[in-house]
């Protein structure tokens, strides 16, 4: 459970289980975890009964469902309908007898088909006298979409897709002691997702150092200390091809090398956890789900560059992340992972948390430094880069949460293991927070180079309500909008940039046919206008004036000259703004002018009456097609 889970009611569920435990109704320990990433199914409960049984993940659990879990699942061993989130493991062989069958119709029209299939399978089982031995349960989610009825056999996780009534007998046959896998129905494609950064999220208690260590925590640090010099860590990270996950994609190893090369009596490392893009929750989930991984990454970064002090710069809107990081710091300090002579290495390092006060621009590294120093959070010109002169004028290395979370894994598993994933210039995996009009909003982690289409359709289940996808916004307010026609673009720094968008920190927002691009762009630009620090003229005035022109067009009062002026201001902001906020704020405007110009022209040509008609249609919940 992360903040998202708590917002969905996870606290109630936890206290219910705890009360049951106190009354002796549940003998199992209740453990809070971070988020598994399945935001669409929050709150989630994983039941790990006996060691032999595979764990079962339940989604959309409220108190009533929790009561049924206690009574039926834990008490009687019966799985509960409509709440199970199926395992993403795709079994290829039946080892041992099947104990349960999950069933779910994955077509968009989820009517009675699931229930019908469930009943049919039950009937068939009864016919064979398996009825009391094998349960048939309707699942909440299979992780497979648009593949008709999907059936998963437990515990083998053998999964069949596009199951028809006529296949039922064969499937049930296979559930017997001598059953065989039905190769024509078998779903053998492994899950697209690769969990490196999210390796422990949702799987363990993020407030326990022991749990972290049991899940491989601090192995990287130990390896770094035993293997050799700090330079070796830098070499490993350079060889892995890891690039900054905060947005700009600067090679992490090179950044470390440059910071180490700057002569100084002190050096600093900072974890940038000022995640602020609308719709982005990657960094929060990581900090809440596996704070020790990020801390270990920070310690490794500090060791590599020779820093003696580190900071977590976390936005104050993330109280749970702050709490868990503070706790991780305390635990690490108590166990000699922070402080003097870390793990007997003779090297000293400590870190503390600094809170951001809600300014988006403080994610920009020079503004972040100003904020930590207690000054107004406004960007400064670069160079000098922080790697030369950063916090209090000392060489400073600033890395994003996700970047740091990947570091321990790379150090522990080797650069090659990481560089195996990804494309030429973009190695490894990337976490995305997929939101908007997709069926299953969630956190996904995929290898670089995965097509956007695969993320939207194969992982997140496609679009809600069977509406057509119009575009996918990546990179938050600094990013652009990828039209449906370019959906096969692989996610990588270069390919997204070529489309006028950016990877950004990993927000991915899907929009459907009813989303008006002029509205969407106005929203993103307004965000940047509100969050501009106001220091430099191109961003301060350019953003505001461009927004006025966009709103004018949206009211049907715009002209082609306004469109020209918008393009002119875009160019000015891109070239003359001081920091990334202003330089990239025009991206949504420019990318929509490239791919959706007809929507702007429709407002200009259609005038005020057209604009009113569209607004009315949207407010009445009609589709834009209906509105004409």
């Amino acid at each position: 459970m992360d903040s998202g889970g708590i917002a969905a009611g996870a606290e109630d569920v936890v206290s219910f289980f705890r009360e049951c435990g106190e009354r002796g109704e549940v003998a199992l320990p209740v453990v809070r975890t971070g988020s598994y990433g399945y935001a669409f199914a929050d709150p989630l409960v994983e039941v790990k009964n006996a060691a032999a049984d595979p764990p079962v993940l339940y989604g959309l659990v409220d108190k009533a469902v929790a009561a049924r879990i206690v009574e039926e699942h834990i008490g009687q061993g019966r799985l509960i309908n409509d709440h199970i989130v199926a395992s993403r493991i795709r079994g290829l062989a039946l080892d041992g007898p099947t104990t349960a069958i999950l069933v779910k119709d994955t077509s968009q029209e989820d009517g009675d088909k699931t229930k019908f299939l469930q009943a049919s399978i039950l009937d068939e089982l009864k016919n064979r006298d398996y009825g009391d031995r094998i349960q048939v349960v309707r699942a909440l989610d299979m992780g497979i979409y648009q593949e008709g009825v999907v059936v998963q056999l437990l515990p083998s996780c053998v999964t069949y897709t596009n199951v028809l009534s006529r296949d039922i007998a064969r499937i049930v046959d296979g559930c017997g002691p001598s059953g065989a896998v039905l190769n024509d129905l078998l779903h053998s494609r492994p899950d697209t997702q690769v969990r490196i950064v999210l390796r422990n999220c949702g799987k363990m208690d993020p407030e326990s150092l022991n749990a972290a260590i049991a899940h491989g925590g601090y192995e990287g640090l130990v390896r770094a200390f035993t293997d050799g010099k700090p330079e070796a860590v830098i070499e490993t990270i350079q060889a892995s091809g890891l690039r900054g996950r905060g947005g700009a994609g600067f090679p992490t190893g090179l950044k470390w090398k440059l910071t180490r090369a700057s002569e100084a009596d002190h050096r600093f490392v900072i974890c940038n956890a000022d995640e602020g893009d609308p719709g982005a929750f990657m960094d929060r989930s990581i900090l809440e789900g596996d704070p020790h991984a990020v801390l270990e990454g920070l310690i490794l970064a500090a060791y590599a560059i020779g820093a003696d002090k580190g900071f977590f710069y976390i936005r104050a809107e993330y109280p749970l992340a702050v709490k868990r990081v503070e706790l991780a710091l305390t635990q690490a300090r108590e166990h000699g992972l922070l402080g003097r002579d870390i793990l007997g290495s003779g090297w000293n390092f400590d870190a503390e948390v600094r809170l951001g006060a809600g300014a988006f621009v403080c994610g920009e590294e020079t503004a972040l430094i100003a904020s930590i120093e207690g000054r107004r959070g406004s960007p400064e010109p670069r160079p000098p880069y922080p790697s030369v002169s950063g916090l209090w004028g000392k060489p400073t290395c600033i890395n994003n949460v996700e970047t740091l979370a990947a570091v321990p894994w790379i150090v522990a598993h080797g650069a090659d293991a990481y560089a195996r994933y990804g494309t030429g210039e973009s190695k490894g995996t990337k976490v995305f927070a997929v939101t908007g009009k997709v069926r299953n909003s969630q956190l996904v982690e995929v290898p670089m180079g995965t097509p956007v289409r695969e993320i939207i359709y194969d992982i997140c289940g496609g679009m809600q309500d069977n509406l057509d996808l119009k575009g996918v916004q990546t990179g938050g307010p600094s990013g652009g909008i990828i039209p449906e026609s370019r959906l096969d673009t692989p996610v990588a720094y270069e390919s997204l940039q070529a489309l006028g968008s950016i990877m950004g920190s990993g927000g991915m927002l899907a929009m459907n046919e009813n989303d008006c691009m002029v509205d969407v762009v106005s929203f993103y630009l307004k965000f940047c206008v509100d969050e501009s620090c106001g220091k430099c003229a191109p961003c301060r005035i350019g953003g505001y004036q461009m927004l006025q022109l966009l709103l004018k067009i949206g009211r049907g009062r715009g002209s082609l000259e306004d469109l020209e002026q918008i393009e002119r201001i875009c160019k000015t902001m891109q070239c003359a703004s001081l920091c990334g906020l202003g330089q990239t704020a025009p991206n949504p405007v420019l990318s929509t002018l490239r791919f959706f110009k007809e929507e702007y022209l429709a407002y200009i040509e259609g005038g005020a009456s057209y604009a009113r008609k569209r607004k009315r249609a949207l407010s009445e919940g009609k589709s834009l097609k209906e509105a004409g």
Binding site: C533, A537, Q545, Q548, A576, L578
Partner: protein, 575 residues
């Protein structure tokens, strides 16, 4: 074009070295780049990014494009954006004709408003009576904030809010008079637009001049004579004393005095004070000068524990004021109540000094009625229709008008110290400094803190000079530390001027101040001293006369009553 510049130069400096001016509205020669305006973008090598010339250090072999069609178009669009957020009320603005934004808009040939105007409705701040802030005209270049916080260490100004609502204002959104502002006016001297200007009181002075019941007299400060010329096309540093006397008479002043006379008077009192403390052990050391009103205000707000160290001698402006309304009035048989005294000052804080405390009314009237800055004075001359350049050299009134070279030195940093030491040496030893020792070189120049040790009859006198309030804290902390440790003071005599360069760099002087200009004005001051036969305040015949006829002895009872003042601990924030 190849250019070779010192290591660490910015692209902007390098371009200037080859006579190429890259436009900027925020970079000021005195200040670090704020990188706010975005006009100085250039292209470097093949990079797509356009770094700011002001903030980018030049590197060996760098290929830079400073001007091309694309850069010009982006700069023009940026200027248009700035204008869309500016009232563009040029005709009624205090900077009309002398505004950096106006100039740059003109240079870029901007002929129409292409972007609709949006200007926030913000009340101006007129609370100090010295400085007027019209926030609507602010282009957020950040110069004033940097001047106030870093150069002057006053911290009255800051930026509030963000985005399009970002605005310069007194920190905490209070009025300037409630803030730690010391009215030095350096913000106004560095502002590129009309957002911060002096409180223009020329109309008040015109009214007084036209009022036949008033007997208008005027005094002009030492530093004004070497800076005023800039407004009339003279090279900086040109000494225009004679023409200034002429124009003041033509404007209708019945008596023209010179503040430099009062500078000599101040020296007599202050040197006597120093000798009293140094040689006779009466009072605290170091003695600290007090003729700069911004410095006095700063001390009262920030270093009130140094009040016992402060010279109680009034500033020359106030000394001349009280002498005019007492001595001059009785000598000339004029009712002091009818005397209306105007001072021409390089300074906005002088407007505040007029009513600083009850001692400023020692004559029984307000000793000086109104203080004009050099900028206002230039404006008055232009209004009068007098062809300033063609005027003959005039003379000051012989009473309260004769001065020594030492008095002129008051106009620049180190000058008070130099003048005081010349007289203190005489007071202790009974003889003047040898000719080659008259120029006390270590206290001259633009170093932020200057110090010297002087041999006075076998005793070492240690002195220090600070200018620019940002340099004061460092100096005074060493004194405070020594006091705490029970050690002898590191210095016996300290001079402080609030503005960098002293009064020649004052907040009320003509625009465009930078070190180069300060040096030129300083040269005018130093040359004036060198060119004079009379170089010691105590040898000024009018000074001798005024003591024998009227005041008695320096630090005597009458002198004390008319020429000295008191200080009090004031809160930095009045709210």
């Amino acid at each position: 074009m190849a250019v070779e510049v010192p290591f660490g130069s910015s692209i902007l400096d390098a371009a200037r070295a080859v006579q190429v001016d890259i436009p900027t509205l925020c970079k000021h020669k005195d200040l670090l780049p704020t990188a706010a305006c975005g006009l100085c973008i250039v292209k470097v090598g093949g990079s797509r990014k356009m770094p700011r010339a002001c903030a980018t250090e030049i590197e060996d072999g760098m290929e830079i494009v400073t001007h091309d069609a694309e850069l010009t178009e982006i700069r023009k669009a940026t200027i248009e954006l700035i204008l869309s957020n500016h009232p563009n009320a040029c005709l009624t603005c205090g900077r009309n004709g002398d505004c950096e934004l106006q100039t740059i808009a003109g240079n870029f040939g901007i002929r129409q408003d292409v972007i609709p105007r949006y200007v926030r409705d913000l009340e101006p701040d007129c609370s100090t009576g010295s400085i007027i802030m019209d926030f609507t005209k602010c282009i957020k270049c950040g110069r004033c904030v940097q001047v106030c916080q870093e150069m002057q260490n006053v911290w009255a100004l800051s930026f509030l809010e963000r985005g399009i609502n970002n605005r310069m204002a007194p920190a905490g959104d209070i009025s300037l008079s409630e803030s730690p502002c010391v009215r030095c006016g350096q913000c106004s001297a560095h502002c590129p637009t009309g957002a911060i200007v002096e409180n223009d009181e020329t109309t008040t002075v015109w009214e007084a001049l036209r009022d036949s019941s008033k007997y208008c007299v005027v005094q002009v400060a030492p530093s004004v004579r070497v800076a005023l010329g800039e407004a009339f096309g003279y090279p900086p540093g040109t000494d225009l004393t004679g023409k200034i006397y002429s124009v003041l008479r033509r404007l209708g002043f019945k008596a023209v005095f010179d503040t430099t006379f009062a500078a000599d008077l101040t020296i007599l009192e202050e040197a006597a004070e120093f000798v009293d403390r140094f040689a006779s052990g009466k009072g605290e050391l170091p003695l600290i000068t007090s003729c700069c009103p911004a410095w006095v205000d700063y001390m009262e707000k920030r270093f009130a524990d140094f009040i016992p160290n402060f010279s109680t001698a009034k500033s020359p402006q106030q000394m001349l004021g009280v002498m005019a309304k007492t001595y001059f009035a009785s000598e000339s048989g004029i009712d002091p109540a009818t005397i209306y005294q105007v001072s021409i000052m390089p300074c906005t804080a002088k407007k505040y000094e007029l009513e600083r405390s009850e001692e400023m009314y020692a004559s029984g009237h307000k000793d000086v009625d109104v203080a004009l800055t050099t900028r206002e004075f230039a404006r008055m001359i232009k209004q009068s229709g007098i062809a300033f350049r063609d005027l003959p050299e005039g003379k000051s009134d012989s009473i309260l008008g004769t001065y020594s070279g030492a008095g002129v030195l008051f106009g620049n940093t180190g000058g008070v110290m130099e003048a005081a030491l010349r007289t203190a040496y005489f007071m202790v030893s009974g003889k003047n400094l040898e000719k080659e020792a008259i120029n006390i070189m270590p206290v001259r120049g633009l170093d932020g803190i200057k110090s010297a040790a002087l041999d006075v009859q076998g005793t070492e006198v240690r002195v220090a000079v600070a200018h620019g309030l940002g340099n004061v804290e460092r100096l005074l902390l060493t004194v405070r530390q020594a006091r705490r440790n029970g050690e002898p003071p590191p210095y016996h005599f300290i001079e402080v001027m609030a503005c960098p360069g002293g009064c020649i760099g004052g907040g009320g002087q003509p625009y465009g101040v930078c070190d180069e200009l300060r040096r030129q004005r300083m040269k005018g001051i130093v040359d004036s001293d060198l060119g004079m036969a009379l170089r010691f305040s105590h040898e000024n015949p009018e000074i001798k006369k005024i003591y024998s006829d009227f005041l008695g002895e320096p630090l005597g009872e009458k002198a004390h009553q008319l020429l000295h003042t008191r200080y009090k601990d004031r809160p930095a924030y009045q709210r």
